[in-house]
């Protein structure tokens, strides 16, 4: 439905930011995790976004259509998370000989997570979410305005 297309797009943005927020929460929760099943400390995770087609016209006949509306529908893109990747920077080495995971020299490999970076990323994610909500509210206000035409 054309009327709700912008809401659909903003909805994909909201879903993507929620996933990003989950990843940040995971990073913050594991800031002191020194041992993982894969071996070594927990590694910081990050999300990668990519656009996805919103106006799913379905079928090659529509794709071949040269009308302006068809073109416009093909240009509309939402967002989705394409991958959650591990940050490959080196772990932080902390001297703590009493720790069970300490190496021969007494150093413990701590996760490569910087709490300040995570907090800033979290605020970024939060603001992006708010921006998408604002976009939804704006399109709703526009529709409601057009419903009051002639009143």
């Amino acid at each position: 439905m054309d009327l709700f297309q912008s809401m659909q797009i903003s909805s994909t943005g909201l879903a993507a930011q929620r996933i990003r927020m989950n990843v940040i929460a995971s990073n913050l929760a594991n800031i002191n995790t020194t041992k993982t099943p894969e071996g070594g400390p927990y590694r910081r995770k990050d999300v990668i976004f990519r656009p996805n087609q919103i106006g799913d016209t379905g079928g090659g006949t529509q794709q071949a259509g040269g009308g302006f509306r068809d073109q416009l529908d093909r240009e509309l893109q939402g967002v989705e998370v394409s991958a959650i990747v591990k940050d490959q920077t080196d772990p932080r080495m902390v001297y703590n000989p009493t720790h069970p995971d300490a190496d021969g020299k007494g150093y413990v490999a701590m996760p490569n997570i910087n709490m300040i970076t995570e907090m800033v990323t979290m605020m970024n994610s939060q603001r992006s979410y708010e921006a998408n909500v604002t976009a939804i509210n704006a399109s709703k206000a526009m529709i409601n305005k057009s419903l009051s035409i002639g009143r």
Binding site: M7, S11, A15, R18, K140, I143
Partner: protein, 113 residues
Amino acid sequence: MAINPIQISQLTPPLNSPASGAGFPSLDSLPGQVDVDLDQSNSFGGMISNLLSATNSKMTEANQKSLEMLAGENKNIHEVMIALEKADISFKFLNQVRNKAVDAYTEIFRMQL
């Protein structure tokens, strides 16, 4: 929610029908006998019923999503809220169309004969 324009030719009989020698339409093609097929989606009744079923499905979807949310199955609260908004807007639109139709009806009802 595609609204097909009502074709003028559906509502009025063709003026140049064979029996209209004096410029009047013949009895065969009086407005009362124009067969408006209610099943066709491009008639007004068909449009209204399409609108009704679209609004109804939006409301059912919103209801379903709220129930899933409350049961803890749906993890995305924004999807529920957007479904509710869609149902709200669809219903408001349907209500406006209904108001306009009733207005037109009362206007015709008050017509002097």
